[in-house]
């Protein structure tokens, strides 16, 4: 199932960045100063969430998202672009969590997280116990990775119509999908 830009914008709405929807496409910026994330604090966000961080988020998404979805790269970049523009603390938290992942992967495999194979990336999350900890933005390394990276990505996917539809819910909580679908039966 293809994730669309609309899905990313819908997820942004659920993530408290409602004003993004309907505006110019939010795109995260690269270290060389590309297009900014919806305007706003482009230079500020560029310094903490750049191409490397986005690449790492996509690399994590490929592990935690089901194989049934496609378009992950664009979805994650659009969502994250709007998100880092929406909150400075969030951007710093993401950058910190990515650094944690990189340190861990480097120690374990001798290379940054995004450079590793899918199997290594899944194992790294497993070895860190990211699957077993409660999310906490101020917690341990694993808890921060769970909060800022894994749960952020899962929240984006499963509050979007396409993501939740994988389980049969096309209007998930957090998504303003109207008042028609609750009346209709399953396909």
């Amino acid at each position: 199932m293809e994730l669309s830009r609309r899905d990313a914008l819908a997820a942004l709405s659920a993530a408290g960045v409602g004003s993004i929807a309907g505006c110019a496409a939010p795109t995260a910026t690269g270290p060389d100063g590309g297009e900014s994330a919806g305007g706003g604090r482009a230079s500020e966000t560029a310094s903490v969430v750049g191409d490397h961080e986005l690449e790492t988020l996509v690399a994590v998404a490929e592990v935690v998202y089901p194989s049934a979805v496609s378009g992950v790269d664009d979805f994650v970049r659009t969502y994250t672009g709007g998100r880092v523009d929406g909150a400075g603390d969030y951007a710093a938290g993401v950058a910190d969590a990515v650094a944690v992942l990189d340190d861990y992967a480097t120690e374990l495999y001798g290379g940054e997280y995004a450079t590793r194979s899918r199997e290594d990336r899944a194992d790294a999350l497993d070895y860190m116990s990211v699957d077993a900890v409660d999310p906490d933005p101020d917690g341990t390394d694993a808890q921060r990775v769970r909060h800022y990276v894994v749960n952020e990505l899962l929240y984006a996917l499963y509050t979007s119509p396409t993501g939740a539809s994988l389980a049969g819910l096309e209007n998930p909580p957090g998504h303003p999908g109207g008042t028609e679908s609750y009346r209709t039966g399953p396909e």
């Binding site: 592990v63 089901p66 699957d131 749960n151 389980a167 209007n171």
Partner: protein
Amino acid sequence: MSGGIDRTPSPRADVCIVGAGPAGALVAAALSSAGYDVVVLDAGPRFDPEDRNDRMERYLRPGIDAPVWDTDPERDAYTSSGDRYYPLNAARVKGIGGSTLHWQGMVMRLHEQDFALASATGMADDWPLDYDDLRPYYAAAEEELSVSGASDNPFAPPREQPHPLPAFPPSYSDSLFAEACEAVGLTTHSVPNARNSEPADGASACVGYGTCKPVCPSGAKYDATRHVDAAEANGARVVDRAPVQRLEHDADGDRVTAAVYATPDDTEHRQAAREFVVAAGGVETPRLLLLSESEAYPNGLANSSGLVGRYFMDHLFAGMGGTLDEPTRQKHVGFNTTESHQFYNRPDDSRTAIKLEFLNYAGPAPADIALTADSFGDELLAEIRDGYGRHIAMGALVEQLPRKENRIRLDPSRTDDHENPVPDVVWSLDDTTRRTIERANEIQRAVLAELGVDIGWTVGPENTGPAYHHMGTTRMGTDPAESVVDPQLRTHDLANLTLAGSSVFVTGGAMNPTLTIAALSLKAADHVEERL
């Protein structure tokens, strides 16, 4: 001044209202519309509507500890010393709009029998007014709240006109229940919702965020900021972060002279007015009266009866749910569309009222499962598919009769952020309420069994909890020895002190209380206006 906001008293006020929830906001809008100078003081902040999406995320995401509506553990401190623990802060909001910011938005009229329960069954007490007295105010309240509803409820009391907006149609989940309900002889009908089925009052129609309780980002669910806005447009002053510490009265103890309130810069102010309306809910209203003790009123203001804080009531939740072997289409919206009031009226004194609900939000949503799962990728999706989609459930509100021992009192051993004793909620369940919860469970079990549900959970007498409808603590009556306010909602003791809200309820029925709060508030506003 604090933060550029003027929180000093108004030099001339006709009316001072304590509390900017639905009761206070409706009174403020009505009296300011009539041309009176109105000041509203609220303990909590003014919330920015732009923050509602952030508040929704707080609700949807585990790991974010910030309370959705900024509950403050010091400001909102309380104790609970009854047989049953009472989680007071679970669903109340201090701030402009009050707990309607959090509520679900179900708005039913009480039934005729509710006003004459003692006469009909021998239980509890009659109200000093009947349904016909309140009927025009119910109609007005439905207009004010732009209620979406249909006149299809054969058990409802008589009404004079359609609801302002059409009802939300039944859900797919409701259709699954329909045959089973028919088979067991249970008649169902629509639910009146204070939620726009069409655009109204400057707000859109519901867009289906599905997070009504605790926050509606679109504003399609009614909250009292609509009437705060109306009051302010009429010239009323609404002052946030101004907790009233006590009410002062004249030398004879006949009239309130001022509301003494604190501001964020630690200054105390006195707001004088001709009339005072306390509309701070079923807990803070009696607490303020108790905090306002004086030589004339050593047991608390307006408490000659000794009943301020007594007869605290809530509704109890009874529920049952499980799974079906087919999709049930839950979690698309956060409100219900079908109910049954068939078991509402009490046949005798064997049980109290039951309001049956058919939930549209049973079980977890995909994100609920994903964010707490210990698996990822395809394995996680399999877990989500297994966990979402086949849940189905019924709920019920059950009436709790007023009992003197259930009460709000002051706890002198603990103080809030202004050194005032916190409220102590003394709450327990009686046998009649337990029996009624069991009866509700019996009906639910019959329906779910007929439907073929694999029943997985039950909320019965042992694990029930409150619906956070605080009622009864300054009850209404004609006898000053047996009640706190008269049928005009004015205290028996002080001629210019009105109490608006659920604290004046004599009995609570099993209907969500806000429409009755609104109706009584409009009635109170009429009586205040007559005196001004």
